[in-house]
């Protein structure tokens, strides 16, 4: 089973989010997930009267997508976290922690903790020890 979601592209993202916002949908969160070595997905979960609607955005790792924090201020924290974990750059983040929201070291495409997940299970992850 998979989560029902409208597939969306990066260029239509902000317009779609604005539409949902205007229709009274509340941003619950965004979930990022790694698909394979090159690609990942971000799911935008919106809620209205306990119903969820989702947007699915595929993007290459380390890519750049527009930030929705301009429309929904609440998204800034989520986007910063995704930047931390996956090295995705968000264009127009209202408060930009530069990839240091949680981690001390900045995440990059090659060095973002959550991107090593799919390399192979059980593979040891080198800790970011400074």
């Amino acid at each position: 089973m998979s989560v029902e979601a409208t597939v969306i592209t990066a260029d239509k993202l902000v317009a779609e989010v604005t539409r949902l916002h205007n229709e009274g949908w509340r941003l619950v969160t965004m979930s990022s997930v790694e698909i394979d070595a090159e690609n990942m997905e971000i799911l935008y979960h919106f809620d209205k009267d306990l119903k969820l609607t989702n947007l699915r955005l595929s993007l290459p790792k380390g890519g750049t997508i527009p930030s929705i924090s301009g429309v929904l201020f609440g998204a800034f924290l989520i986007e910063n976290e995704i930047r931390d974990q996956f090295g995705v750059t968000f264009d127009g983040l209202v408060i930009d922690y530069q990839g240091r929201l949680m981690n001390e070291c900045t995440a990059t495409t090659s060095n973002s903790p959550f991107c090593r997940l799919l390399v192979k299970h059980g593979m040891t992850v080198t800790k970011e020890v400074k």
Binding site: I95, D96, Y97, Q98, R100
Partner: protein, 626 residues
């Protein structure tokens, strides 16, 4: 000998000032100022050793002097009027016209009053003022030598205005002395007006638009004061036909008579002492170079106002006018303290505090009992020394860092320790026991026993003052100085000497308060000084000394060990005085005082206190008719 002393005190400054003007060379000016200072100090001390006494020096008692005094009563207003016309300043024109009219009317219509017995009658009050002027005033004049040099260097003037400046400055001291010593109301008035003129010239010295505006504000207010004084004097003359001050202040004279002249004279004193609602001229005086504000605030000008009130205090005892005067003084003390709390401009803090403390002295005058007057004299002397010190310190620090904002003075103890510590000592000396200011305040409270409102207002004001001054001192002592570009600090011996002497005066006078108090009291009361409250002071001095020694020892020990890093919730700091905070940025540990502007904001209080104080003043004049 006495005549010589008096002559030097009154005339020599004028002569020296004129010499400054003529000679123009800085070296000669320096020598003259130093010589004048030394001469004034010696003569004042000489006088003090002879007090009380009466004298009749020729240059004060002669017919010629009186003619000059009467002429001056017209010349000064005329000059004010001229300046007012040139500036098109309506208020100045109105009040100087009034003054002129009064003077001319007086000359036309007044009979020659009784001859004054003694041209000089020197008592504790006079000699205290003379000492203050001679010592504190001279120190400020000395301080002004390097200060004005630096000031003009900073302004890059083509032609030095210093000769004129020092002429006025020194003459000011002479007129103050004349006022303190003369026993003839007409001479007194001439000197009084002369101080108005001097202050006007000094405030406007820099001739910037702000300076001019402040100077004219000072002028119109003091011209109004002149109107009050002159009308009061004329009425006295009319009522009793005497101009002998010591004869006038005899309560016996006033039984059954209208008190209006006293009310007017005292009102003139209040204007000169920058009591609310006339505080604005003194605030404006801050724009002048530091020595000027120091002089106006501490040893001259405003002291003339309280001197006048204290002089008339015997006739105020147990009168409606006295009660209302005390009330208005107490209210000014309270309101001034409250307003000083809301200021971040260090000079404004000082200014409002001056206004407040003068209010306190006015309370003493209003109460008028010997104990109260003695307390007032103590306050007068100690305040002059302490406030002079504070002004010089702030001025010096201002030249060091280029700002007079309290926020910028934060941590000055790290940048120019001597000045900052002197300022701290001064600030704490303003409010903490066993220093003279606090003790004087305490004596005032106990003297005002019969008037609960006055007592309560003084208590409120004193609490506000404590906060204000401890914060002031604390800010200077603050731990981490902000990074400001360092400038070369001009520390000449002529800056440091007056500072240190003033510090010694402030502390010395602060500690000597009980003895000054005893000196100022009639013999019967003097004996009891040390058996009542003041008696606590000598033991407290011993405690102070002990505490001082212990403190110094610990200070020495703690200076030797490295300081701990500040508590910042455990955050690391990349460099001293910063922490690594949100967004990974380096945040400077900026600090700011709390001014509670919504409570102690200047504009609101100015309106409220101005109105109320104005009403009180009217009530006081009206009280003469009750």
């Amino acid at each position: 000998m006495l005549d010589a002393y008096i002559g030097v005190l009154v005339l020599w400054p004028l002569v020296a000032g004129l010499l400054c003007l003529v000679l123009r060379s800085p070296g000669a000016r320096k020598a003259l100022v130093l010589l004048t200072s030394a001469a004034l100090a010696v003569c004042a001390v000489g006088l003090a050793s002879q007090t009380p006494f009466t004298a009749n020096p020729n240059f004060l008692a002669s017919e010629g002097t009186l003619k000059v005094a009467e002429a001056l009563a017209i010349v000064f207003p005329a000059y004010f009027l001229l300046r007012g016309l040139m500036e098109k300043h309506a208020l100045v024109i109105i009040f100087s016209c009034l003054q002129l009219a009064l003077a001319i009317w007086g000359m036309m219509n007044m009979n020659e009053p009784q001859t004054v017995q003694n041209a000089v009658v020197c008592d504790g009050l006079s000699v205290t003022l003379a000492l203050v002027v001679a010592i504190i005033g001279s120190l400020i004049a000395i301080f002004a030598i390097p200060y004005m040099q630096h000031h003009e260097d900073h302004l890059k003037l083509a032609k030095s205005k210093q000769p004129a400046f020092f002429l006025v400055l020194l003459a000011f001291l002479g007129f103050m002395n004349g006022m303190a010593l003369s026993n003839d109301l007409r001479v007194f008035e001439a000197c009084f007006e002369a101080t108005t003129l001097c202050s006007f010239l000094l405030i406007g010295h820099d001739n910037t638009p702000v300076a001019r505006q402040s100077a004219f504000r000072a002028l119109w207010m003091n011209a109004l004061g002149g109107v009050f004084l002159h009308s009061g004097v004329l009425l006295v003359q009319k009522q009793f036909g005497v101009v002998d001050i010591h004869a006038v202040v005899n309560p016996a004279l006033w039984t059954g008579a209208s008190m209006l002249p006293v009310a007017l004279i005292v009102a003139a004193g209040c204007v000169k002492a920058a009591q609310m609602p006339f505080q604005k001229w003194l605030l404006g005086a801050m724009v002048a170079p530091t020595p000027v504000s120091a002089l106006l605030h501490s040893s001259t000008m405003v002291k003339a106002g309280v001197f006048l009130c204290l002089r008339f205090s015997p006739v105020l005892t147990n009168t409606t006018i006295g009660a209302i005067l005390a009330l208005s003084g107490a209210f000014t003390f309270f309101a001034g303290s409250a307003m000083s709390l809301g200021q971040s401009n260090a000079k404004k803090v000082l200014a409002y505090s001056t206004i407040a403390n003068l209010g306190l002295i006015i309370v003493c005058a209003g109460i008028g009992t010997p104990v109260a007057v003695a307390a007032g004299i103590v306050l007068l002397a100690v305040h002059a020394a302490t406030k002079g010190l504070l002004f010089l310190c702030v001025g010096d620090m201002e030249q060091t860092i280029g700002s007079r904002d309290l926020e910028d003075l934060r941590g000055m103890v790290g940048k120019s320790p001597v000045t900052a510590l002197a300022a701290c000592a001064g600030a704490l000396g303003m409010v903490l026991p066993p220093m003279g200011m606090l003790v004087g305040k305490w004596a005032t409270i106990e003297a005002a026993k019969s008037n609960p409102v006055v007592m309560a207002l003084i208590l409120l004001g004193s609490a506000l003052a404590v906060v204000c001054w401890v914060r002031f001192a604390g800010t200077l002592m603050s731990g981490k100085p902000l990074p400001t570009p360092e400038k070369a600090h001009h520390s000449s011996p002529l800056t440091n000497m007056p500072l240190m002497t003033m510090l010694a005066c402030a502390i010395g006078l602060g500690m000597a308060a009980p003895w000054i108090d005893a000196l100022m009291l009639p013999n019967a009361d003097a004996a009891s000084v040390f058996t009542t409250g003041w008696g606590l002071m000598p033991p407290l001095f011993i405690v102070c000394l002990l505490a001082w020694m212990v403190g110094m020892k610990v200070l020495g020990r703690q200076t030797a060990v490295p300081q701990a890093s500040p508590y910042m919730g455990g955050l690391p700091s990349a460099e001293p005085g910063t922490f690594v905070g949100a967004l990974g940025k380096n945040w400077a540990l900026t600090e700011g005082n709390e001014y509670a502007t919504e409570i102690f904001g200047e504009s609101g209080w100015t309106k409220f206190a101005g109105t109320l104080a104005g009403l009180l003043l009217l009530a006081m004049v009206g009280g003469a008719f009750i």
